[in-house]
Subunit: 300 residues, 2 copies
């Protein structure tokens, strides 16, 4: 089996480390030449529980013209880079290849619909991963990769992903892709913007009564828009994630603090579009959306 991973961020590096250990023919595609060179020269380093591990990796620069030959392609770029990548997926990846998208939010749904491939999976990554250099990733929290077929058959996924999983990097196949993404979106739509606005670790949304009230009210809006079924279960899931990641600074908080682009469009922005189509009112979602975008744009 040949595996390709597109994206040299924390999640792309994490997949590359674990998949390379299981399948020798794993190739990582990155955007920048300097990152590719560094990885090819120095290998990929992973910190876990204070220990440094290393694998040799094959890294290529994405912009080259050649076809991406792989049976499975993991697409691990950020939501906001996906539109640009769509052309590459259409023209340089075989229609028989299986694709796995691991973005946050739901922004990729409309893009996936335009692709020619017959087997497309979406994945949700619960791992904590922090990119500490262009060739170094810290595996800071062990979790699970959950995936489901967006197009094609979930049953086809099992034999492939069974080969790639290991105890430190388990993979779980679920039935309902919408349920899978929506539950993750709910978590992100609540925890990310609030921690970024208040500059607090995730756990403060549980321990501070006032933040907690805001979290619940924002959750209620998002839950309603997403048309999920079991409200109590979803709310418990949000609180569980908050609790399990209590000492973490969310990715959106880190993006705001370092002046990087956030994923707010794929998260709250998706909810706003969906609310608009359903003609339902989501004042708090709009408020946090504007707040996060406002914090990342220049005045004027």
């Amino acid at each position: 089996m040949n595996v390709a991973i597109i994206g040299g961020g924390s999640i792309g590096l994490l997949f590359t480390y674990y998949f390379t250990k299981k399948v020798e023919n794993t190739v990582l595609y990155v955007r920048r030449e300097d990152q590719a060179e560094l990885l090819n020269r120095s290998g990929l380093k992973l910190y876990r529980e204070g220990t440094l591990r290393e694998v040799k990796v094959k890294t290529k620069v994405l912009q080259e013209e050649e076809k991406i030959k792989a049976d499975l392609v993991v697409i691990a770029v950020k939501q906001y880079d996906l539109a640009e990548l769509a052309e590459t997926v259409k023209t340089r990846i075989s229609e028989q290849a299986q694709l796995l998208f691991v973005q946050n939010g739901m922004g990729h749904v409309s893009i996936m619909k335009t692709l020619p491939q017959d087997h497309i999976y979406v994945g949700v990554v619960d791992h904590g991963a922090l990119k500490i250099a262009e060739h170094k990733v810290e595996h800071s929290g062990e979790g699970t990769v959950k995936l489901a077929a967006f197009r094609g058959d979930s049953d086809a996924a099992a034999p492939i992903f069974d080969q790639l999983a290991e105890s430190r990097f388990p993979i779980e196949v679920q039935e309902d892709w919408y349920q899978l993404l929506a539950e993750k979106l709910l978590v992100n739509a609540v925890i990310n913007p609030l921690t970024a606005l208040y500059h607090v670790e995730n756990g403060r949304l549980l321990t501070n009564d006032y933040f907690h009230q805001n979290m619940k009210n924002l959750f209620d809006e998002a839950f309603h828009v997403l048309c999920l079924e079991d409200k109590e279960k979803s709310w418990n899931n949000v609180k569980d994630v908050c609790n399990q990641t209590a000492r973490n600074r969310s990715s959106m908080l880190r993006d705001i603090e370092t002046g990087r682009q956030t994923e707010i469009d794929a998260i709250s922005g998706y909810l706003l579009e969906r609310a608009d189509r359903k003609a339902c009112s989501v004042p708090l979602t709009k408020f946090v959306y504007n707040g996060i975008i406002g914090l990342t744009v220049n005045p004027g």
Copy 2:
């Protein structure tokens, strides 16, 4: 005429400076003995346009038992200290004395109703004033003191306040106390919490389109709750204040940054109570209220 000013914060010091210059029998009452001693020993210093000015002031400690003998008493403590002060006003100030309350928000309305005095005014202070030491205040922006009778007759105010006003410290008497406070409350309910949440100067609410949208939506809620008449005029007033104070950091932002108590209860908290009585929904007001309180309390 005898004048008393209660409160040794920036606004109390500002009134004391200008009133002492016009009326020799002006006494400032402060809470802490060290501040009273310093003021009596060193005088009150005021910076304006880079120049230092000084007046001798009579300062007393508020906690002493004696009556506060004055024809006019300006009450310039923070909203959240007012409940404690009410007993002093009832028992130690003559019923014939005229009272002027210069708090932000509307929290003082319910307290003023319980007082025995026949002449009570409310004032809105547009001046920029920054306390830089216990005996030093910077008059950073010149404005107006607008006041209106809350109890008694507005006409009675003119002869008193004409004696106290000067070109750098003009006083304007208006007819409708509710209109006066409500317009100021609108400004505070919008500018203060948003600048404190986003950590920006007032002007950013005009120049950043996303913050501006949130400001407008928050304004709409507050305007509706306050039952004012001319929405366009009120909105223009909020924008004018934002523009005139574009380079200022709001008092609430400074309170949040230095970990002090804010006036959110008298501002957004008042709107929440009023919305509750009118059974109208104010999700954004509740959201910013929770956010600001959350930022000033300990977790747990």
